[in-house]
Amino acid sequence: MSTLTEVMTTTDAAGGRGASGTRSRRRGAYRPKYSSPLRPRKSVAFTLLMGIFVIYSLVPLVWLLINATKTQAGLFSSFGLWFDDDFVLFQNIWETLTYKDGIFLRWFGNTLLYVVVGAGGATLLATLAGYGLAKFRFTGRKAVFAVVLGAIAVPGTALAVPTFLMFSQLGLTNTPWAIIIPSLISPFGLYLIWVYAVDSVPTELLEAARMDGAGEFRTFFTISIRLLAPGIVTVLLFTVVATWNNYFLPLIMLSDPTWYPLTVGLNQWSAQATGVAAQPIYNLVITGSLLTIVPIVVAFLGLQRFWQSGLSAGSVKQ
């Protein structure tokens, strides 16, 4: 394994990315790779001015958090951005989870299923294919790439109606497969991995592995996948968000509420407030919304180190 270890250590030392690493080493002095060297003084006034952006972004979320602590009557009688006298967040959560025999938990489970299988599968397929396109030459490679790039321009919603018609011919509608199968394709994910693999998996490393007699798939799963990790986490996060937030596809594919994901279920609860037999459950819609975004927000905050590095690598090529 000596050749292999050698190449891997070299790669690690260079930080995985060529040009800038060499440049700073040549100068012999430490330099932060990509930050502005004009180090202006931080400005309080400018920070406050830009704080408008933060307020705009966070106010609706704060509103949601505050109003999840109110009773249905309290929603109407109190000011939107402050708490009511009754603090009933935990009762609201309990009521949300147990409403109609715990249908919310069922929807939560469905969403998890679609996310784990759909986003997980999408990431796996995009990683394998992006790596294959970046590191192998084969006939039709350019054609594959052109078609997939073109597909980035085609949003899921444009295909949803024809996909529904096709799936209903195949008898797949109203089953989890109708949600999972279309989620398995992420052209943008493939593009990101392709760009990332070109730079972060050195061809010499693969050659060394081949000389050591390792098979391509073995090399992929033991070595390349580790070098691709930041790119993979980025793609995983974006596919998780896409499937977790998926609304249009399940809306048309599913008519049986037991297979609904959270998004479609919440909208159904909200629609319950209007119409002939109106039974508004605003407090449950609000608390349910809050419970829906908590996992995804936690995932984003927890993994930001990964997706931020993965994204900046993706933009090198633009």
Binding site: Y56, S57, W63, R210, Y247
Partner: protein, 320 residues
Amino acid sequence: MTTTSTPAATGRPASTAASSPKSPARGIRRPRQRSEWKGLAFVAPFLVVFLLVFIAPVVYSIYLSLYREQLVGGNAFVGFENYLALFGDAQFWEGFGRVTLFLLVQVPVMLGLALVAALAIDSARLHATGFFRIAIFLPYAVPAVVAVLMWGFIYGDNFGLAANINDWLGSTIITPFAREWILVSIGNIVTWEFVGYNMLIFYSALKVIPTDLYEAAELDGAGPMRVVTGIKLPALRGAIVIATIFSIIGSFQLFNEPNILRTLAPNIITTYFTPNMYAYNLSFAGQQYNASATVAIVMGVFTAVIAYVVQLRGSRKEER
């Protein structure tokens, strides 16, 4: 596993032959075929599903758009009749005009805000830049359904902030669900959802600008504004083109936000409010699958053409 195995024994695959010049001609032929199927093996799983969920629906909707379900004779080939009918359909054009207006106003506003935020965060003049970045990006992680429900409540005159403000002013000035304001209300939701995402695209492009450029600018005595116009904006051109294309696609496909708001403003948001809502309602309320497929194809072609033009213009400027 040792290093004793020679290249000749293992056979150097074609990818190495292709990237490293002057490999012995003898070694190329056979391994090339080997690498052929190896590369394909990595790509094949993606391609199979891709054919099923991308290519097949496109082909199927082209087929549907050329046929029509008739009372007598069943499914019959009608050529371009569905397209002609659609081009003469006032409801389609109303929705089309609406998303075009939306596109022309909302996209520049959103991308402008994203650009300002990205430049501000990159300027290193802010305190707590990390917090700014994540706080502005956070709405992207919120599902469209939750975003619309939330804003819908905030807009509402039951217990929303709009109602609070109106009570406080003793007036009814703020009416987000009124006919003349509804598009602005939707635009605000879409902007809120995606400004951070676009900011991150711009910010990522700014981060990879080589430090040398800034040093050179500093030596030349360029001020911060000159750095922005002379270095940062030109470096952002590619990212701006990409963000614009994504935003155009998103606007033409507008569906989630108006469709969910419809429960709150049913008289103002029609079933043909946007082309995508029209396609959806043709299919699921009217069972007019052929007409629905025609809308999907027409909008797909429009989107592709406009995205292509934007890309061409963007790259032409880059050459100059």
